[in-house]
Symmetry: C2
């Protein structure tokens, strides 16, 4: 099975066979995490880098009054921050949305990897920079996009990210988030999300059925969302998709 | 004059005299940027790292219809992403809010700096991680905080960041943003911002006069905002403030 992490990093820098072997060697034993279970908590000391090998997870913050804000989504191949072990404390929680197969790279293994391969060092840095850009784009969405633009933008982004790692099937991809999850990510109630989904369906832009999203007209959805994939910084993505 | 960048980095790792000299040597000639002028545009190739030496700037995205979203604020000592030269293209614009004194470190000088000093490498990485955490917290604010909580949180954050770099004077700090700027950052109209400022004043929490913000009761403002400074990751900040 090709490594989801190598697949993801190869979107930023073309990796050598040696890089792929080093990556595989650096990965500790993997474990399954049940859906709706936390992977690491706010306040924990992040000694290793968690890597999503399969399934979906999210970074979130929870307030004392129960309000939850999902701040980003983690998809197969995503390292949960390649340099996080340099901090003393997590400032947010990471939780599984679906069953998640989780790998780990220790801080010292990450140091060895990046010291040994300038390509891996560059790929991990570009991955971090692209993650920062995605976070900025979520800030833009919540601050400046209307409800329908916001959800359309999320669907465009997820479809583009899943396509880049070979997990879209034509115009269809997984969408395992509930309407509550979508609400927690979009800063809206699930009732509002339900109405917005109906609007998007009514416009003939999407179908959402059995946890699968089909985008009938990607260009029209992107126009509605003011979506421009440049912020994903996927230098090598076309090559990957063609693989 | 002590270097604002060294002051900032010292919040994350205690720098040696040699580190400070290397940083000073790496900095190219500085230049003044007029207020309301762009420093680097979306689409530009970021060949060097811009460093704010004095004044305030912001990262923003502008839509074709004129809507502008300020996604983050850049204060004295802030590098505009220490690894940005590893990307091919800017995904956002950086613009000056006040007159800005701008320094630059070339990509190759940054590589030399971090290869020579593990402390500087660690400090720049921690700075990037803290910047990512700030971006997540802005996402939380826009998604889950009410109007008054959101503005209160921004004031708490700016006051904490300015205190860390020695730019607060007791409970008072600079606040050069107009109500339009605050609206563009908070995803609200300037009319809404004006009303929220009056509410915060009415509660006796702040005074905003002549572009200076005074926080009369920092603990009460933090409670209202659900503000917890942990996400700023300022490991060494207490030592710095005491200097």
């Amino acid at each position: 099975m090709p490594s989801p992490l190598a697949h993801k990093l190869n979107c930023y820098v073309r990796l050598s066979e040696d890089d792929r072997m080093c990556l595989a060697d650096a990965m500790g034993p993997s474990r399954m995490v049940a859906p709706r279970t936390d992977i690491i908590h706010e306040g924990d000391d992040p000694r290793a880098i968690n890597v999503i090998l399969d399934g979906w997870a999210c970074r979130y913050r929870q307030f004392a009054n129960g309000r939850r804000q999902i701040v980003s989504l983690l998809l197969p191949g995503d390292p949960c921050d390649p340099h996080v072990f340099l901090l003393d404390e997590m400032d947010h929680t990471i939780g599984a949305i679906t069953p998640v197969l989780l790998g780990q790279i220790s801080g010292s293994a990450m140091r060895d990897l990046t010291a040994r391969s300038p390509r891996l060092d560059l790929a991990f840095h570009r991955e971090s920079l692209a993650t920062a850009a995605i976070q900025r784009e979520w800030t833009v969405s919540l601050g400046s996009r209307t409800g329908i633009e916001r959800l359309a933008h999320l669907f465009c982004e997820l479809y583009a990210r899943l396509t880049a790692i070979g997990l879209a099937d034509g115009n269809t991809c997984a969408m395992p988030m509930t309407q509550n999850d979508l609400g927690d990510a979009m800063g809206q109630t699930s009732v509002h999300i339900n109405r917005t989904l109906q609007e998007l369906r009514g416009l003939g832009l999407i179908t959402l059925r059995s946890r699968r999203l089909t985008i009938h007209d990607p260009a029209a959805l992107a126009r509605l969302a003011h979506f421009d994939a440049a912020y994903l910084h996927r230098t090598e993505v076309d090559r990957i998709v063609a693989c």
